[in-house]
Symmetry: C2
Subunit: 212 residues, 2 copies
């Protein structure tokens, strides 16, 4: 089975690399990073380059698509090859999925119309404007519609493990989790705006402005 991860300038690296790391360990799955043209794309602030190894034309029938997010989704939403490719390949996928603001891209091509979906916490209002019913959950599945969305950045790891369960079996999913030692022990319980106070949110705001 082929898993295609579209990447584009100013993506959030962990949105893509989290699911990749889970999925690539499973022998039944091949992961390919796909984009408008082969070569290197830079992440949000330019500090990391990731390689596009195949153009959209070269990946016409992926079994799974994982769309990452990031500031770069703003340009993606203006139209272009990723939207065209998603429209073309979605009818043939087993699952079309997103991490973080990648769900805005799925919504933009109509895949989330009237469906509950999630995104980075900062994008839930925008997701509603694009026709979805935003919910603040870690992973939102619509198996009959073959669409799965995950929340902000790190949630792609949780979704990746669930994808292995859906694509292979529960033992495979647990094996992938054991291998990447995903036994999280965050030093704080600060993983969502609902869990932190105004001082932390002011710092988030400050850091977002700089990063953008």
């Amino acid at each position: 089975m082929q898993v295609a991860i579209p990447i584009f300038p100013r993506l959030t690296a962990l949105d893509a690399v989290g699911p990749y790391e889970v999925l690539q360990r499973v022998p039944a799955l091949d992961v390919v990073f796909v984009g408008a043209e082969k070569g290197t794309v830079r992440t949000e602030n330019g500090m990391l380059g990731l390689s596009v190894d195949a153009t959209y034309d070269e990946v016409p029938a992926p079994d799974v698509v994982v769309v990452p997010g990031g500031i770069g989704t703003r340009s993606v939403l203006e139209g272009g090859p990723l939207l065209d490719w998603l429209r073309a390949v979605h009818p043939g996928t087993r699952y079309t999925t997103s991490v973080c603001s990648g769900s805005l891209v799925l919504a933009a091509v109509g895949l989330l119309d009237g469906l509950t979906a999630t995104s980075h916490w900062s994008c839930l209002d925008f997701l509603r404007q694009l026709g979805a019913v935003p919910v603040s959950e870690r992973v939102v599945e619509h198996l009959p519609e073959r669409v799965i969305t995950a929340a902000g950045v790190s949630s792609g790891i949780d979704m990746g493990i669930r994808l292995v369960e859906l694509l292979v079996d529960t033992v495979a999913a647990q094996a992938a989790q054991t291998y990447i030692e995903y036994d999280p022990q965050p030093p704080f319980d600060a993983g969502h705006p609902s869990k932190v106070g105004p001082e932390v949110m002011a710092r988030v705001e400050e850091y977002s402005a700089v990063r953008d």
Copy 2:
């Protein structure tokens, strides 16, 4: 402050990208991916390319070093520019750190002699052979010695948040955690060999063999 992440052929991508994603959001920190030569290095199974943006010579005085792991550490341990660079830069760092089997590299240049340290669960015995005292913990800190080691793959995210606390402050660390929505909800409690049965470990073994 400059954070240098050395990368090398056949590294585990998430070991490097997890900490990167946490650290790069903090305006006081610049992250640079450093290597033997500029260009693209491929991850363990070759499915992802990451860019080396600076050579070791060009990064002579990093404030923080984060050494990732992966199968590629076997070649690194045979000697070469990464070991030489680590020996040269460690005396000047605020923290020299590792994720996963990256701790074997720290041990190989003597940074863990007689100290408790962690690694991917499959590497703890090897870590002992290299002079460290292996412990099965998520993150092991030796602040006077300025050395921190993290366990397998995904643990670099936990360590990254702690590093932000050490380098900036607690509010910054919590802000970074909120931004990447690190509120983990793994679908299983299967993040360590001690938590799974023989059927899952047999699958881990099978997948490791293929990946290698």
